[in-house]
Symmetry: C3
Subunit: 326 residues, 3 copies
Amino acid sequence: MSNPFFKNHGPILISEILKSLKIKDNNFRQDRQIKDIKDLHAASESDITFFHLKKYKEVAKNTKASFCITTDSLKNDLPKNCTPLAVDNVLVSLSNLTAKFYPDAINDDFDNTTIDITKTEFKNKIKHGKNVLLGDNVLIGLNCLIGHNTIIEKNVSIGDNCSIGSNTIIRNTIINNNVKILDNCVIGKHGFGFFPINKKNLRYPHIGSVIIEENCEIGCGSTIDRGSMSNTIIGKNTYLDNQIHIAHNVKIGENSIIAGQVGIAGSSILGNNVKIGGQAGISGHLKIGNNVEIGGGSGVIKDVPDNSKVMGYPAKNIRDFLRENK
Amino acid sequence: MSNPFFKNHGPILISEILKSLKIKDNNFRQDRQIKDIKDLHAASESDITFFHLKKYKEVAKNTKASFCITTDSLKNDLPKNCTPLAVDNVLVSLSNLTAKFYPDAINDDFDNTTIDITKTEFKNKIKHGKNVLLGDNVLIGLNCLIGHNTIIEKNVSIGDNCSIGSNTIIRNTIINNNVKILDNCVIGKHGFGFFPINKKNLRYPHIGSVIIEENCEIGCGSTIDRGSMSNTIIGKNTYLDNQIHIAHNVKIGENSIIAGQVGIAGSSILGNNVKIGGQAGISGHLKIGNNVEIGGGSGVIKDVPDNSKVMGYPAKNIRDFLRENK
Amino acid sequence: MSNPFFKNHGPILISEILKSLKIKDNNFRQDRQIKDIKDLHAASESDITFFHLKKYKEVAKNTKASFCITTDSLKNDLPKNCTPLAVDNVLVSLSNLTAKFYPDAINDDFDNTTIDITKTEFKNKIKHGKNVLLGDNVLIGLNCLIGHNTIIEKNVSIGDNCSIGSNTIIRNTIINNNVKILDNCVIGKHGFGFFPINKKNLRYPHIGSVIIEENCEIGCGSTIDRGSMSNTIIGKNTYLDNQIHIAHNVKIGENSIIAGQVGIAGSSILGNNVKIGGQAGISGHLKIGNNVEIGGGSGVIKDVPDNSKVMGYPAKNIRDFLRENK
């Protein structure tokens, strides 16, 4: 799938890519064209990908990409079809290259393409409050409501029967049918992803979107960041309470219930039917199974298998936690 | 007291109520009229109530309601004046019946009755910022201030000498004299109450209000949800710091101090002179006594008696916590 | 340095100060003029200061102030040049006296001096969204952006190349060059500082500012309170994620990284190169050294020396925490 919101400035010649990665190697056909940059799973034969953590070894083995930014220590886990391009810091190289394909994906300044909804085709099609602004490339379905002072910035698609509250800001987001988003939310901004560099950090591009599937509800004051290389996804019929923070690349399954002030760090993946109590936190890059229950206030710092109930900081089996803390 | 904000579509014939609960029973006078639906404590002889948790047994014994939605296992705790109506799931039945009495209490879409304050009688009576909107059934006392972009949606009563900040949204709320509410708050939205049903959850009606008593202060970015069957109450001279979440039906006493990022889950009741440190969380349906101190970061998962100092997760006697963690 | 934002109504005669503190003492030259009220470190010979906690003993010993509000038990730690004025409650006395010097610093009602940016000199100088308001005494540098519905209240100085998001509110703040502040933030409001008094608490004046040094980024929905007697400072190139709360008088060093939903309580001081994981909390009046790493979810309740890695609640050495919780 091509990127729905950010313009791909590719294809880029492999010779240019090698130059930007500071790799000198004459064994390649220098005129080969690379169409896009994608994660290990999504990349096809015409793309370049990246592989930076041992834990993604199994996915790496099956990638279809022809080239992969990686390290000397990881390169042997790649399949024969994929030529490793070893660098010192995979993420910095990835960031620089992504910025070549998608130069518009670094900047998250306010959207100055917006105009008042009363000057658009949606004026009479949906119920809207006062001072509603719409940016470029906004689609809104049938029977929707948008509250006062809400800003639908560029690159937003809203399905049918959706209700957006007031003072909410949305960009780079696909919202499916029957979704409710309450007041004071910020959805679709870039994540907290950058490379720490003394004096001036380096932001990396966020070319992903937020996808909110049908029948979801998002509580007041919540923030959902868009993905960097993949998307941030809230599965069907999942409800989020107030003041929740969902970081970039997080994927939450269907029919899940997440109570107030929960935070989920970047790239964690949650299954279906997950219940999370208030103020719990989940570290980044974790896998939480289906039918998992996480007690309120828990701090989850490792994967949780299907059908588990955990609680505590760090979170453990809930029976153990309660017995030890009688 | 009749509901101040939601129109009661009752009385409803008991025969209709039985039909909606799918109870077939010919022992009642089918033409009996039921005026309202209320909790065990508030219900009078002409009302129907509900009883779903053993912990409310003592209140159930003294209810004045003539009918009560409950279960087979709880029904024997009701007094003689109250006829039990046993169902499989009390809360789902309650929800359906409440929606019959109060059909307007499910929907929390943005208030499209609002108009700019400069077009209302309050134009010259209070100091107000730019772009202030007022909904139906809004009362504002003397000597008040309302900041820019703030939306006082329908069903709000504000006392004298109150100061509301900017970008704040309020509905279904009674604010007493000398209250300050700072910027970016959302007060009076429905709570996180619904029945999890695969593919599409069922919201239950929130017919309660938020009541903020005199001399309170509510910090920036806080959310206070209105009650479902009862009210959410902030007692006199209680101060809340920034980014606090108070869930539906919570009752906080007088002279209390609640530091930043605290969360209090649904239906918990706190006494007077309670002090809560930053980021502490209190689970739902708990009773916290008078003069209680809860250390910052604590997770309170059981009742706390009067005059206790607790800390930890789960919270315990603060001396024990500090000694064990030296 | 004189206060940049609040008008000093001093000098005040020492005889008047003694009267307001209810101290009867004829040993002073009653016509001595006191210019300002400052903390122990910042006060000069013509100022009055305060000393209320034993932990500030070393700073007290070197104060240049001529007078100091303190207690009988602390007064002997002051140097000879500084006359102690012993009172029962230092902070209440401080509060009352500060209100005499700075009567405008108690009130944080919405700023009604604001006008639409299109009616100001900045109309064509910066890129701005719809409905942007600017208060009195606002300076904005070159090449800046300000998003929709954002309110720059009185007493704000913004450097060059800054990008402010939408729906954000700022007052009493100095923002240096190349700073990004995202959406829905509230920066520069008074802190959660007051004296608990039954029936009606007493607010104390906040005469400090927020200072955000160059190259910083502040995430969506964050709140940063201004200082009471000193300033709240975010050091150069420090990045804050979403939904962070920074209380009054906190000082954060340079090149630091603070993840989502972190809270830092009043008057804590952090060094440079500090990394804090999501949802961690830091109690008030602590000193966190340089190069410190604090794990996500931690609750820090005592000082942390340079180069330490801590985690847990209460936070301890991270290796001990992980070993004990295997």
